[in-house]
Amino acid sequence: MFQAAKQTSKIQRHDKDDETLHVENGSTSYRLSLYDQPPLYDVTVEEFETSALDRLRILAEIESSAARNRTMEETKQMTIIQCGKYLPLNSNSASGVDIQAERRKDQLGHFVLRLAFCRSAELRRRFVKAEGTLFRIRYETDDSKERAAFLSSKDFNWISVDADEKEKYEAQLSHFVSNKTDPNAFKNETFYKVRWSTIPDLVEKRKVFLKGGFAYVPGREQASIIYAAFEERLEAALLATSRAIPLVDEETRLNPILDNLAQGFTAGVPSDWVGSGETTGEGITADMVDSLAKQHFPLCMRVLHQNLRKDHHMKHFGRLHYGLFLKVLGLSIDEAIAFWRKSFAGGPGADKFDKEYRYNIRHSFGLEGRRMNYPAKNCLQLHTAHEAGCPYRQLENSPENLQSALLSSYSAQGLTVDDLPEIMSQVRKKAYHVACTRVFEITHPRQVRKGDGLGDGESVTHPNQYAAKSIELEKEAKEPKMEVDN
């Protein structure tokens, strides 16, 4: 493991004051953060990447929630579950956890992603939106005392409305007091004054009183000001970072990581899917592949399987993607060779099989050459593949073909013509993984509801994840059923 000798800190220092240097170790006294102080300590490259990846999982989930029209409440539940898994962040009162380490990871991940997402206006906009939602969820779930302390530690450019002014506009302001039956409600309510343009959402819904360009915000709507401030500051910081980033000389070490992260939003989380253990199903044999394909494979692998059956042949990338997928699914080396040999029988490559393809298969299992046990390709890799890649993406420009592929592959599992417009609209938005996730939901109607994704709101990020979840759900469904049969 090598040191990323202060690389992160150097990058950030361009747009920050030297006054902030005292937070050298990343410790903070609040759970919430406006991320106004960059991390100024040494981190390893590995830490650099993992902290960002874990955060990206959550942001990608938030984004796909928006793409799937989940309500704020559903998104909140999903995010809380996901945060618990990948990015726990406890309040000061929590015991038995290393709060400072959690916060350090939170802060580091945020700043690494800033580097990755500052590079185009589109990425900046999406990053601000997802981070804004995450902040909002954390703000809502924060301990109220700690939240108050956090708020008083920051300056949000609001002016408290003093008693005289409050009295002057009593007739108007009292409209915005929630509890009309309590005679003291108005007296107890505090109002804050900000420029109207900083809180457009409250103005739009007429939730504030406007006078002379200032919005009078009742105390309970205070959160809106903070969300707006959070997003506004983040936007400004990203712009500043985007101007500084060409100065960073990190061609070989950090830039590839950042490039990879920046693509994360397109494909969900760009990581290898690691299920429980190395493989999913135990003892899958060559002759089971046909039935598994019909029930459990995502569209990309189904298309490959159908083509293989039709042509009795498959080109290099098809073999690579499909072979690795089958390996992770649980096909052993012997079964794999049997499967491929059978599949090629009668095709143009049948007689060359032992000479040419056998080596490839053994190679992909780590038994030849470099002896590297290759992981299966994830969605991101399939998106960028020129051949045998993600069909949602590759058929984007020929929607009729994609629709007929969907119908022929999944109509046996309950996908109907009525479901197509929704899927196609996601494809048009280039949210291929959302489209794929939706197909999963439609074809597993008894196990998952709309918006659940693969369960717990997870989106498809890897074909093996899709297949494994599908198999798992079928097992769960079968067991109680058999009892009923008895």
Binding site: Q172, S197, E204, L210, G212, G213
Partner: protein, 416 residues
């Protein structure tokens, strides 16, 4: 001579007419002063005019976008060459619009523009009784007058903007340009918020209840209460007397459909169906009498409904799409309306009620005035010829407005 006789012999779309108009009358200098927010400057971020888009509708209806000019002199030259039947003003972009094809699309963004509002008489078709579609008369101008009063007050008082230029659109509507610095720099989201905040009547063209003013059955927000008061001052004269909106079966049925209390509706319908043509103000008073007989909370519900009726009949009906996006184009002041030949002149919001669209100078009238004045000093360079025509008070008004925008901007520049 009367304006109407001129309209017949001068074709507002002929090249000769347009050329004379642009050469001798159109206030390019003032336009520059306004859009550049001050004199010509060398610092890039203060040079606004060269980054502003102008779009022309040529006489053959071709539409030319993304024109821009270093100053008013070049613009005037080009306009005189093209003699467009009208032109529109777009936003200030991050690069000069004439270079659009050569700069990267990511570097060509609409950045700033005045906040604009458009009120069009066609949105009032379901309620106005005097004209419909493209027609407008002094009587239906009453709707526009109330709309201007309400909106002008709301924007000045609530949003704190005071550089408001109201411009008659030449036929049946009115445009508003807000040039305050903050307004000039609002993002699309903020513009959308502002329009939604000010929009109360949705889908003006559909019948039925369109008012979206309050949460559930809560009281009106204080700012809309104020709007109601403004409307109330003209409601009697405009809606009840002049337009006589409830003076027919169709008209009073619309009113009844807005009343939530079924018993009140059936009692009123019984009363009114005997004499459907009774004047609106009598029906309005009869409705008020009905309300007085009600107990709480039904009475409160009816009071709320009455406020909503006021809003539905006279609250400004905004064309929201125009205002939401910075890159929307809007017809420039002082263009000629191709159908009516009237000039799109500024309107003083304090005297909007007295404004009569029929008395707006037409191009025919102006050319006649030029001829009358021009015979005495023919041969000299035509400069500031508008001084001799009835366009003068309007251009003076525009000049004052441009000066105020410039002064404010200069003050802000100095304070940096």
């Amino acid at each position: 001579m009367t304006p109407s006789s001129d309209k017949e012999d001068v074709d507002p779309t002929s090249e000769q007419v347009l050329l004379t108009f642009y050469r001798r009358l159109y206030p390019f200098k003032q336009l520059f002063k306004w859009l550049n927010r001050g004199p010509e400057r060398t610092e890039k971020e203060l040079r606004l005019f060269p980054y502003r888009e102008f779009a022309y509708t040529l006489r053959n209806q071709a539409y030319l976008r993304y024109n821009s000019y270093p100053s008013d002199i070049e613009m005037k030259k080009h306009v005189c060459l093209l003699t467009p039947s009208r032109f529109e003003i777009g936003p200030v972009y991050s690069a000069q619009p004439k270079d659009k094809k050569t700069v990267r699309s990511t570097h060509f963004k609409a950045e700033k523009r005045e906040v604009v509002f458009d009120i069009d008489m066609t949105d009032y078709d379901p309620i106005r009784t005097c004209c419909s579609e493209a027609d407008i008369c002094k009587r239906c101008w009453g709707f526009i007058a109330v709309a201007v009063q309400v909106l002008d007050k709301a924007i000045r008082d609530q949003f704190g903007y005071n550089q408001l230029l109201w411009v008659y659109s030449g036929r049946r509507g009115i445009h508003l340009w807000i040039s305050d610095k903050e307004a000039f720099e609002l993002t699309d989201d903020q513009r959308k918020a502002m329009v939604e905040y000010l929009t109360v009547v949705k889908n003006g063209k559909e019948p039925g209840k369109q008012v979206n003013s309050r949460f559930a059955s809560k009281d009106l927000p204080p700012t809309l209460k104020e709007a109601c008061q403004t409307i109330n001052e003209s409601f009697d004269e405009l809606i009840l007397q002049d337009q006589n909106c409830f003076g027919s079966k169709e008209g009073y049925e619309t009113l009844l459909s807005l009343i939530p209390d079924a018993k009140v509706v059936s009692r009123l319908r019984e009363k009114w169906s005997d004499n459907p043509g009774s004047p609106s103000y009598i029906k309005w008073d009869e409705m008020k009498d009905e309300i007085k007989t009600l107990e709480q909370p039904a009475r409160r519900v009816m009071r709320n409904a009455m406020e909503d009726i006021l809003l539905q009949y006279a609250y400004p009906r905004l064309d929201a799409e125009v205002s939401k996006h910075r890159n929307h184009l809007l017809k420039a002041p002082f263009c000629i309306h191709p159908k009516t030949g009237r000039i799109c002149v500024p309107v003083d919001p304090r005297h909007v009620a007295e404004f009569d669209p029929a008395k707006v100078p037409t191009i025919g009238q102006l050319l006649a005035e030029l001829d009358a004045a021009g015979s005495s000093n023919s041969g000299r360079e035509h400069r500031d010829d508008w001084q001799k025509t009835s366009l003068k008070p309007y251009i003076d008004m525009f000049d004052q407005y441009a000066n105020s925008v410039q002064e404010k901007q200069t003050k802000m520049d100095l304070s940096w």
